[in-house]
């Protein structure tokens, strides 16, 4: 065997070129990206079967109107999650913002909406800065933020609700677009659409995903990691401010604990939408669908007559099942 033994010459280049195929998503991938919507429809169908009265236009309108603040909260926090972090402060910041809104409204009038959103955005930015400059995990920064915002809200409101007397500033939120779509939900859709489009059309989407999947690679590729992260926290904060305006306009008051219970539903909405909690993979549209699923579970189960104890058990089972459906595992290496 002194001479090399050549295998029979097959093709000239039996390499990958011969096997080049069209890139882009396969059928299976396409289906998984629609899974959040499929889960939503399935849930709606189940609720309708449980109580046929549930599927009326009035009832659906009410449900999407109800979901608006949750959609906004979840959409904002989705950006942080996509960057690989988490924002646990959204709910407390939202509560604080309702208080600020109610306090400032008499002086600032219609401008209050913008001022509150800007203030909440600024607070979000401070958290983002603390996260990137001090290198503290976002979980810890926002956990601290959560208790600090709650304390501030309690102190400035003297631990009580503040009435919103002047309802003109937020009256428009209670209108309907095209007769059926509640304005607040429309605004929520607008937020999701605008942020998604900005991401899609600019390099931001690849920045955010690169940071989420592998921050060190993103940094060594020279992407503006810190700026993008701070921006994500800022938008997350601003969304909390917008959600606060929606809640305050719905409740005619601001209160230091108003939105506190929306934290876990908002994070659940993100995960139910199929966004990877580890970062990188996901989108705001998914969180929109997730927020609708969570809202339907929150309001639908009791309204169709599921008893309280069973409601919780079903809620637990269904959100897990929903995530089992929606998460695209080909994009997430290890499920932690």
């Amino acid at each position: 065997m002194a001479t090399p033994v050549l295998a029979p010459e097959s093709g000239q280049t039996p390499s990958a070129e011969a096997a080049v195929v069209k890139g882009g998503p396969t059928v299976a991938q396409r289906v998984t990206s629609f899974m959040p919507v499929i889960a939503l429809v399935a849930l709606l169908a189940a609720l309708t079967i449980a109580d046929p009265d549930f599927l009326t236009q009035r009832s659906l309108t009410a449900a999407v109107r109800t979901s608006a603040p949750l959609v906004v909260l979840a959409a904002g926090a989705t950006l942080v999650v996509l960057c690989g972090g988490i924002d646990l402060s959204i709910a407390a910041l939202c509560s604080l913002s309702t208080v600020l809104f109610a306090m400032w409204l008499p002086d600032l009038g219609g401008l209050t909406i913008l001022v509150v959103i800007a203030a909440a955005g600024a607070i979000g930015a401070i958290q983002g800065l603390a996260h990137v400059l001090l290198r503290i995990p976002s979980f810890v920064v926002t956990l601290g933020g959560m208790s600090i915002f709650s304390a501030v809200a309690l102190v400035i409101s003297d631990a009580g609700p503040i009435r919103v007397i002047d309802r003109d500033a937020t009256k428009w939120l209670n209108l309907y677009v095209a007769g059926y779509v509640p304005m607040s939900f429309f605004v929520a859709l607008l937020v999701v659409a605008v942020v998604s489009l900005v991401l899609k059309l600019t390099p931001l989407e690849s920045f955010v995903k690169a940071i989420g999947y592998s921050e060190s690679a993103a940094r060594l590729a020279g992407t503006p990691v810190d700026i993008v992260k701070v921006a994500a926290f800022t938008i997350s904060g601003a969304c909390a401010g917008l959600a606060a305006v929606m809640l305050a306009s719905r409740n005619f008051s601001g209160s230091p604990t108003m939105a506190d219970n929306l934290l876990l539903p908002a994070v659940a909405a993100i995960v139910v939408g199929g966004t990877a909690i580890t970062g990188g993979h996901g989108s705001l549209w998914r969180s929109l669908a997730g927020a609708l699923v969570v809202t339907l579970l929150r309001v639908g189960l009791p309204i169709v007559g599921v008893p309280s104890a069973w409601e919780q058990i079903l809620y637990g089972a269904i959100i897990v099942a929903a995530v089992a459906l929606t998460l695209d595992r080909s994009k997430v290496a290890i499920i932690k």
Partner: protein, 520 residues
């Protein structure tokens, strides 16, 4: 585990029994035929080299041999028995073990635990650790390869080479599982080692041959010829031939691998031309100090390639990172083309035309789940944007051009980069700095790690082209030969200081020995 053995005596291959035999193995991935009917024979007590370009299917084949890849078709025979391997454990039961291309130790466990991981045997009784036994078991394995590592040291406190030893000690555990001589598979074990460490490894491999068969993969053909008894070559997922190494030379192998003879001028020295601009110094570093290096002076002229050599811990990686703003500096003055270079962060570095290719490709170089196109254009936004907007068409054209130019093997620009073979991933990472054409200083940390000889040659050619166009390059080479072959000047670093500068012009190259003297 005998239930998994399916013995077909009637088709038993003729004696002497081969340690391992592969027949017609096929494996498809979406868009890629990674294995296309591979045949391979590993004899008892031999070191078999496996060569092939990046993406030829070497790793896939080897993973199939340890049950990590389920082949679509084909047969695997172990010592005359046809087997079906469904997991690492089953493979180990048949005496096959592997050291993976990416190091695979748990960093926060002790070396001892890593060595016995998955087959603790007497080290764990009813779920309870018996540290003494565990240590003894690990020590036995370490003794086999004559290593003096403390078995109870945490793995992430060990050096790279020590970790490699732990990996080998670990893979030798399979001896305890079978009475037969084991088959040890080493997938590119040398790509992360320094030359001294490689020598140690080769000593081990030769020792292993006494009682085992070894399959050895490397892109450094001289190594393959050095340590192996026989080489088999894969191309495009097929076996294209094999030869004994006794009197083979790298070009023979090379010819088999790519189907034609490569040029002898491996490092494209002929291409090197000193442009007029070459005279002016581009990068000037004066007295730069950081955590792991002190008072480093460095000058790189436009169009020059300067290699930095040194052993692990010499601080050369950190110098590179510091120049890219990825590692803090405490003192020093750095100018690029006369202007002060901002070392405050990677953004600033990129903005001033500095590029960096990190050694840790998987972690720092690329974003695995993102597409080839996105990875390639992550840095240079202008190349794919109009104003603030991404223009998909522009990006597609550009990316396709570079895929073509660097012959990157990918089904599509939209394929996740993580699905490419290591070499092709590296090409994408390199391409990232080239797409905009505005690079002034390129810092290359092991740019050819894991690349096949063809791809290497490609990268070298690219480096030459860039140099000719005036780019200043700092190269931390994969091997001394590479440093010598590519560099115009070589800086030797030792213990955080630049201790020596060696001129390295074409025609007047120093020998590796000259450098090693300075390094230690």
């Amino acid at each position: 585990m005998t239930t998994n053995l399916q013995v077909h005596p009637e088709t038993e291959p003729s004696a002497p029994v081969n340690a391992l035999e592969v027949r017609g193995l096929v494996k498809h991935y979406p868009g890629v035929k990674a294995l296309d009917g591979v045949d391979l024979v590993v004899r008892q007590h031999e070191v078999l080299g496996l060569a092939g370009e990046n993406g030829a299917g070497k790793s896939t084949l080897l993973k199939a041999l340890v049950g990590l890849v389920r082949p679509d078709a084909g047969e695997i025979w172990v010592r005359g028995e046809k087997v079906r391997l469904r997991s690492v454990v089953e493979a180990a039961d048949h005496g096959i073990g592997m050291v993976f291309q990416e190091q695979s130790l748990v960093p926060n466990l002790t070396a001892a635990e890593n060595i016995v991981l998955g087959s603790e045997g007497a080290g764990v009784k009813r779920g309870i650790y018996r540290w003494d036994t565990m240590r003894k078991l690990a020590q036995e394995q370490l003794d086999k390869i004559g290593s003096h590592i403390d078995p109870l040291a945490r793995t992430d406190s060990l050096s790279f080479a020590e970790r490699q030893m732990v990996e080998i000690a670990k893979v030798l555990r399979i001896e305890e599982r079978t009475s037969n001589p084991p088959v040890i598979i080493l997938d590119e074990p040398t790509s992360v080692l320094e030359s001294k460490e490689i020598e140690t490894l080769f000593t081990q491999v030769r020792r292993l041959r006494e009682f085992a068969s070894v399959v050895f993969v490397s892109h450094r053909l001289d190594e393959v010829l050095d340590v192996c008894d026989r080489v088999a070559v894969l191309r495009g997922g097929q076996s294209v031939g094999e030869m004994p190494t006794a009197d083979a030379v790298p070009t023979d192998l090379h010819r088999l691998m790519i189907g034609s003879t490569g040029s002898d001028d491996h490092y494209h020295e002929g291409m090197s031309e000193r442009s007029a601009a070459a005279a002016e110094p581009r990068l000037v570093v004066k007295g730069m100090s950081g955590k792991t290096f002190r008072d480093v002076d460095l000058e790189v002229r436009a169009g020059e390639i300067v290699g930095i050599v040194g052993v692990h811990g010499s601080g050369r990686e950190d110098v590179c990172r510091a120049l890219f703003g990825a590692e803090p500096t405490v003192a020093g003055e750095v100018t690029l083309d006369g202007a002060k270079l901002d070392l405050s962060g990677t953004r600033a570095a990129v903005a001033s035309g500095v590029g960096y290719v990190p050694a840790e490709r998987k972690i720092e170089g690329m974003v695995g789940p993102m597409s080839v196109a996105d990875n390639m254009t992550l840095t240079k936004q202008k190349s794919r944007c109009a104003g603030p907007m991404v223009v998909p068409q522009k990006q597609a054209t550009l990316v396709d051009k570079w895929i073509e130019r660097l012959s990157i093997r990918t089904p599509h620009r939209g394929t996740q980069i993580g699905r490419l073979s290591g070499g092709n991933q590296q090409k994408v990472v390199l391409a990232r700095w080239l797409v905009a054409g505005d690079i002034r200083l390129l810092l290359l940390d092991h740019p050819t790690r894991g690349l096949d000889i063809g791809a290497r040659s490609e990268v070298y050619r690219l480096m030459r082209e860039l140099a000719n166009s005036g780019v200043a390059t700092v190269l931390l080479a994969d091997s001394l030969e590479e440093a010598i072959g590519m560099s115009d000047r070589i800086i030797v670093m030792n213990d955080g200081r630049a201790t020596k500068e060696v001129a390295c012009p074409s025609g007047g190259k120093p020998t590796p020995l000259d450098l090693v003297k300075e390094m230690v």
